[in-house]
């Protein structure tokens, strides 16, 4: 099945929640909807499901106009943030409930519930009730219910957000595997760039109700089509430094200027926003023409095996993503090294005008 959203607007009480969204999802594709809270992810999913009607625009499934068709006739299933199960039913009956509604023969129900439970590693819990289970097991049950009926479209609305991060890691991996063998369209909403990258497939970046970019996840990550898209799709967010481009140089201020990359020389001189990934700024120089910047430490966030270092230069704040563990005190004075060859450039309208050659290379390989 394919799903095509054509020029979708959704206005509620005079407020635009979704505007001008065009999106074509391929049969059997796994799609991530990436955007901050209130970006319109949930609304868009509800439109896809048929729980809401668009104010303007049309929705096609397999080329058939389904704009006014109700959710009951669309064969979709949905998994929510909250762990929603029928409290008075066992896990087995919960998972079987969509099949029972469809009058599936009992033998077939048993077979499918069994295989889904096995895939989700809850086969030993089938006779328990939801309230006796941990959060992860409850969400697995809810997923089982969504997966058991052969839906054409499965929607996940931030399903892992209420779980511990270790559980999140495990379920994310399993989820990706589950969809390999299926021919339905999966749409997965998340606020976390890392989750989008881990899930792979395609990513649609949503911002303030507008679709910024859609494409294979890696490509959207490496070649963002604009500043918003780049900021949205990196954790920590890509560093943005406003500067001036002359024929041969980039100037951040009088004392901060350096020769620019040959690729940038084709741009018209003027004001641009330069983007540099948090993982590309380092504590030791990586190449001779790295720019040395004296900064003060705001805070070093340490996450197991990596460090997110928030620092401020007198003109702009920066975030560094470092491998390994680096401990600093608030207001420590240090030097960081800014890669002058790995800059993205965005014009003042926010469109991408330059992508560093290193990023282009990776996509070609991948």
């Amino acid at each position: 099945m394919s799903l095509h959203l054509q020029n979708i607007d959704h206005v509620v009480g005079g407020q635009s929640h979704i505007s001008g969204v065009n999106l074509e999802l391929e049969p059997g594709s796994f799609n991530v909807l990436l955007g901050r809270t209130l970006a319109g992810k949930t609304t868009l999913m509800r439109l896809m499901a048929g729980l809401e009607q668009p104010t303007r625009g049309r929705i096609f499934m397999d080329g058939k106009d389904v704009t006014g068709v109700s959710v009951r006739k669309r064969n979709v299933s949905m998994v929510y943030q909250q762990f929603i199960n029928y409290p008075s039913m066992t896990v087995r009956d919960n998972i079987a409930s969509p099949l029972k509604l469809a009058n599936t023969p009992q033998q077939e129900i048993d077979r499918r519930v069994g295989s889904i439970a096995e895939m989700l590693h809850i086969e030993h819990l089938l006779d328990r009730y939801p309230q006796e289970l941990s959060g992860g097991q409850q969400q697995r049950t809810a997923m089982g219910r969504a997966l058991v009926k052969d839906a054409d479209l499965i929607l996940f609305d931030e399903p892992l957000v209420n779980l511990d991060y270790k559980l999140r890691e495990e379920l994310r991996d399993e989820l990706r595997e589950l969809f390999k063998a299926r021919n339905c369209i999966a749409v997965y909403a998340t606020t976390e760039p890392n989750e989008a990258l881990a899930l792979g497939g395609n990513t649609a970046v949503l911002h303030e109700g507008k679709l910024l970019q859609y494409g294979p996840t890696e490509q959207v990550y490496r070649e963002p089509n604009g500043r918003h898209s780049a900021e949205m799709f990196s954790e920590p967010p890509i560093n943005i430094v406003p500067g001036k481009l002359t024929a041969t140089e980039i100037t951040f201020d009088q004392s901060l200027h350096f020769p620019c990359d040959p690729g940038l020389q084709r741009l018209t001189p003027g004001d641009y926003d330069f983007g540099v990934r948090a993982s590309h700024i380092t504590l030791k120089p990586q190449s001779a023409d790295d720019l040395e910047l004296p900064v003060l430490v705001d805070v070093a966030e340490i996450s197991g095996s990596e460090t997110f270092l928030h620092v401020r230069h007198e003109r702009f704040p920066l975030v560094l993503h470092l491998a390994g563990i680096h401990e600093f005190h608030v207001n420590d004075a240090i030097n960081v090294y800014f890669p002058t060859h790995q800059l993205y450039a965005f014009d003042k309208q926010g469109s991408t005008v330059h992508i560093p050659s290193s990023a282009q290379g990776s996509v070609a390989h991948g």
């Binding site: 705001d298 805070v299 996450s303």
Partner: protein, 366 residues
């Protein structure tokens, strides 16, 4: 000012505990030194909240003693312990102004107003709450509310310890690091013991100088973020810290070789000797995904692996592979050469850790 000592502490919610599983906290000794920044890290249900409530006095331990500066405080209620606590959800008195909220603990102790006012203003200034002082406390945002609840602990001159119970749960992701910075700043400025309870490794290692990792009612390791990453003292710490966690191989020593199932592992003499000397049937080798290198052709001491998939996570790639039927993860740097289906992996010798009965055993590396 206080040094908090837990002596022979254990707690069971059951009146007649008979086995290990009846205990929320198993027999433990622990010292939190005056002025330290500590975290109590563990998954849900590990006993960390129970331990926090025992320290704050909301719960009386069933066995052992809680000592504040050497004085037994088991029976003292929270209000007599000179501690403050910040809860998961901001607790504010919403009919009062922010000012009155901050003044509340002082006024409860009948502090004269001329002493209350400068103290409230000082703390408001540190927490950037000055512009909000005259506002009703129900109007601020979640992060401001959480700062108000923290402020109520800080205004008291007699407070010797502040306990935090997952304080950033309700804070917007983009604002979290600012509050983390504030917390660090406050710790460095005031000489107060702080204990921070969380299930999130990033929260714990960012805040704390030393982390107590709890698992199944016990502190399995007490160490710096670096120690937890580089030398996990227990297999659980290896699994829980780092994303993804440590890989483990159950091994045995047969005919002078370290065997992973039927597969002899190419480990060095020191590791081999330690495995031989372990004298248990539960022997595991642990290796972090960061310390596995992968190549397409055999290298000295490499083992052949079957690649399952390669996820591009932007700043690095995650390789899943199987060895002897077991799934492993390796973390490859950005721009790593592509890997074919059948490849070879090297486990870096000096990063292999040995676990006997789940606990770390030092290997005599030469």
């Amino acid at each position: 000012m206080a040094e908090i000592t837990l002596k022979g502490l254990a707690h069971s919610y059951s009146k007649t505990p008979s086995s290990h599983s009846d205990y929320a906290i198993r027999q433990m000794d622990h010292v939190w030194h005056q002025g330290g920044a500590y975290a109590l890290l563990g998954p849900s249900g590990c006993g960390k909240s129970t331990l926090l409530n025992i320290i704050s006095g909301l719960l009386e331990p069933s066995e052992g003693d809680v000592l504040f500066d050497g004085h037994r405080v088991n029976e003292l209620p929270p209000e007599e312990r000179n501690i403050a606590q910040v809860f998961q959800f901001p607790v504010i008195y919403d009919t009062m102004t922010v000012y009155d909220n901050l003044a509340f603990p002082l006024r409860n102790m009948n502090t004269p107003e001329y002493k209350v006012d400068p103290k409230v203003r000082e703390i408001a200034d540190i927490l950037d709450l000055t512009p909000l002082l005259s506002r009703k406390a129900k109007t601020p945002t979640a992060d401001e509310k959480q700062k108000v609840s923290m402020g109520r602990g800080l205004v008291r001159v007699d407070v010797s310890a502040i306990l935090f119970d997952e304080p950033l749960t309700v804070i917007e992701p983009q604002l979290k690091w600012k509050l983390r910075r504030k917390l660090k700043e406050i710790h460095e400025r005031f000489n107060i013991t702080m204990i921070y309870v969380t299930h999130d490794q990033l929260e714990a290692s960012t805040f704390a100088d030393k982390i107590a990792v709890m698992y199944d009612g016990q502190v399995v390791q007490f160490g710096t973020p670096r120690e937890l990453f580089e030398k996990p003292a227990h297999t659980f710490v290896g699994y829980f810290i780092g994303s993804p966690g440590m890989n483990f191989l159950s091994v045995s020593h047969q005919a002078g070789k370290v065997m992973f199932g039927e597969l002899p592992l190419p480990v060095n003499e020191a590791v081999s000797r330690s495995v031989a000397a372990a004298g248990s049937s539960n022997i595991k080798l642990g290796i972090r995904p960061e310390f596995i290198t992968v190549s397409n052709s055999p290298e000295p001491n490499s083992v052949p692996i079957e690649v399952v998939n390669l996820q591009d996570l932007g700043t690095y790639s995650l390789l899943s592979f199987t060895l002897n039927g077991q799934l492993f993860k390796a973390r490859l740097p950005e721009g790593h050469a592509p890997v074919g289906d059948a490849a070879h992996a090297v486990f870096s010798d000096q990063h292999i850790a040995l676990y006997v009965d789940e606990y770390l055993v030092e290997i005599g590396h030469e």
